[in-house]
């Protein structure tokens, strides 16, 4: 039972001051085992804050990140699942399922987490699942101003992952979930 927090596109301090207080009150240290961050934090203080929540932190580079040393993409294995991380501004058209699926095949992962669109989406295709946790602060994006703060918490338990989606809608935290099971047969053979 491994808890993985996925979030990104905070754009602190340029477009938002901080995470919404309701989110901050829920995010306490000791509960989460891994944090994956799609990028655009943008400053080091945000990284330090995330580090206090959980020591195992993975970040990829967004186009506004001040720290240039983050990698463009990252892959990690948690339990039975391979996760891929990328900010998403590199994949055009932004947010397009087919192009993201290409990236997923390239990275050879079961779950791909990308951001940049500031909209929560969860797609499924033959290869696996693509998740966009949205913007945790509700910062405006290049595409739209109308953004609800959101992030994603994945509960990886054996071959099953439950994706909990936390969204702040009209000042209230709404939680939904998505169930995803990895069938052992879907092992990615070398294409």
């Amino acid at each position: 039972m491994v808890l993985v927090l996925a979030l990104g596109d905070l754009h602190i301090p340029h477009r938002a001051a901080d995470l919404p207080p309701k989110f901050k009150s829920m995010l306490v240290p000791g509960k989460i085992q891994h944090i994956i961050c799609t990028g655009n934090l943008c400053i080091k203080e945000v990284q330090d804050y995330l580090k206090t929540l959980c020591p195992d932190l993975h970040i990829t580079r967004g186009e506004y990140d001040e720290d240039t040393r983050y990698p463009e993409t990252k892959t990690l294995t948690i339990g039975q699942f391979k996760l891929g991380l990328c900010h998403g501004h590199q994949v055009i058209p932004w947010g397009d399922l087919d192009s993201l699926a290409m990236l997923q095949r390239q990275l050879d992962v079961d779950i791909l987490v990308t951001g940049h669109t500031h909209q929560f989406t969860a797609y499924k295709h033959e290869g696996g699942v693509v998740i966009n946790p949205g913007s945790a602060t509700g910062a405006y994006s290049s595409i739209t101003y109308d953004v609800n703060p959101s992030f994603v918490l994945m509960d990886i338990d054996g071959l099953r992952v439950v994706v909990y989606v936390y969204e702040l809608i009209d000042g209230e935290v709404k939680v939904d979930k998505i169930d995803f099971k990895k069938t052992p047969a879907t092992t990615h053979s070398a294409h």
């Binding site: 829920m26 797609y123 939904d176 169930d179 099971k181």
Partner: protein, 457 residues
């Protein structure tokens, strides 16, 4: 004020623990110890290395023959003084290791094979000590702790009932929150995604059941409770790992040790969850250890396989008399540990005022410094493992409950080393009491029993 005279029998050289006088243990563990009579071998933990089945069990039969010629080799002094002390005393004298042992074993087996066991009789025999062989101890302890009823015919039904209850507890309490939510969903009747293995498109979002999500801060949330319990579970884990690091049964990398550690961990976690008032306190693992060891090493395969469940209930039973010692709030009350220590102090004063005065007044050794561990951990830390099993035989067979006998044994421990204590100052006395020297257990229990019968004043 007239000083109470120390009775002569206390001052007899028989009861000192200096090596020369020390007889061998009641049950000599392995043939190697017959070579020398020095107590250096006595102090060696007798149930050491390949300890899945206690070596005495294997050696119990051959033991009877080597011990008889051993008696001849031993100190003539010992033999004579043992004869003088009236070796017929019921409560364990050191000389007749083998004949007494065998007779006790026979008596116990006879008692155990009866249809309805006479508990009074069983307690009487058990208080002299239970032989290590033939897996008797496991059954006797279960009877003494009230886990098995005296009527043999009820055993199978009782056992089945209790074991299934424990299984039920484990299932309920040891589930992790992911599983719990999964079960909740099933019960609510949510249909899982499974339907389309191949397919693309948006993944459908579904409602969460009962507002349960991992970051929930609600009091009744399964997840929240899980995280709060995880602290206690960590503590239990740490203590289980540290239990008896010298014994292969409990510690090390072997399959057996891991299995046993898991079992002990489960028992303590279930106990902590069922008893929110007392939860887990450091030291409970030490009380659990002998119980689990004895039950797991039962010769009966079926009993040994269910050792975890049996140990849980016996542990609860045993702890019920001592719960108050573990509750910090009750420390200063008249059921707490401080009052028990005061009782010990009083007992010492009654039986040996000179020593009491020297300890508490002259050298100011506060009994809390040593007696705390003796009492809360039921003497498991003061002697080696085999000896503490023997002491527990006597403790558990007391019909009034282990506490009375425990206090008498503690008092006897003090009296046995009185010479050294009387000669020492604060530092040396404290050191001596906190690292109690190895003693002949039969002597110790004999003295403790004498304290019961001796008139006060």
């Amino acid at each position: 004020m007239v000083r109470k005279r120390v009775p002569d029998w206390l001052n007899s050289s028989l009861w000192s623990t200096t090596p020369a006088d020390d007889g061998l243990h009641r049950y000599s563990p392995s043939p190697t110890t017959t070579t020398t009579t020095s107590s250096a071998t006595v102090s060696e933990p007798t149930l050491q290395p390949p300890a899945t089945v206690p070596p005495p069990a294997a050696a119990s039969k051959p033991q009877s023959t080597p011990t008889s010629p051993k008696l001849e080799i031993r100190d003539p002094v010992n033999k004579n003084s043992n004869n003088n002390s009236g070796g017929n005393d019921q409560n364990g004298d050191s000389s007749g290791v083998s004949p007494d042992d065998i007779s006790r074993q026979a008596q116990l087996l006879a008692e155990l094979s009866k249809k309805v066991i006479n508990m009074w009789e069983l307690r009487r025999i058990a208080s002299q000590g239970i032989p290590d062989g033939a897996g008797i101890r496991s059954t006797v302890w279960k009877l003494l702790l009230g886990y098995l009823p005296p009527d043999r015919s009820q055993w199978s039904s009782e056992l089945a009932k209790k074991r299934s209850q424990y299984r039920h507890f484990k299932e309920e309490l040891l589930m992790n929150p992911s599983e719990i939510t999964r079960r909740l969903e099933k019960s609510v009747g949510c249909d899982n995604d499974e339907s389309k293995p191949e397919g693309r498109g948006l993944l459908s979002r579904s409602q969460i059941t009962h507002g349960e999500h991992p970051l929930s801060l609600g009091k009744s949330s399964v997840w929240n409770q899980f995280f709060q319990d995880s602290e206690i579970i960590e503590q239990i884990d740490r203590d289980v790992m540290r239990t008896h690091p010298d014994m292969h049964f409990f510690s090390g990398d072997s399959q057996l040790a891991k299995f046993n550690q898991d079992a002990m961990r489960n028992i303590l976690i279930v106990f902590a969850k069922l008893n929110p008032g007392i939860r887990y306190v450091q030291g409970m693992n030490e009380i659990l250890a002998p119980l689990f060891y004895v039950f797991k090493n039962d010769h009966d395969v079926e009993m040994a396989a269910n050792a975890e469940a049996d140990t849980f209930f016996c542990f609860v039973e045993l702890l019920s008399g001592f719960r108050d010692h573990f509750c910090q709030q009750l420390d200063n009350s008249n059921v707490g540990i401080r009052s028990t220590i005061t009782r010990l102090s009083q007992l010492l004063k009654e039986h040996d005022e000179e020593l009491w005065r020297h300890l508490e007044v002259t050298t100011k050794v506060n009994p809390q410094f040593y007696a705390f561990r003796w009492i809360t951990l039921l003497l498991t830390q003061e002697f080696n493992f085999a000896d503490s099993l023997h002491i527990w035989d006597t403790l558990l067979s007391d019909p009034e409950g282990p506490l009375e006998t425990l206090l008498r044994v503690c008092c006897a421990m003090l009296i046995l080393i009185r010479r050294r204590l009387l000669a020492g100052d604060f530092t040396s006395n404290l050191k001596l009491l906190q690292h109690y020297p190895s003693a002949n257990i039969s002597h110790l229990l004999y003295v403790a029993n004498k304290l019961r019968t001796q008139a006060i004043g």
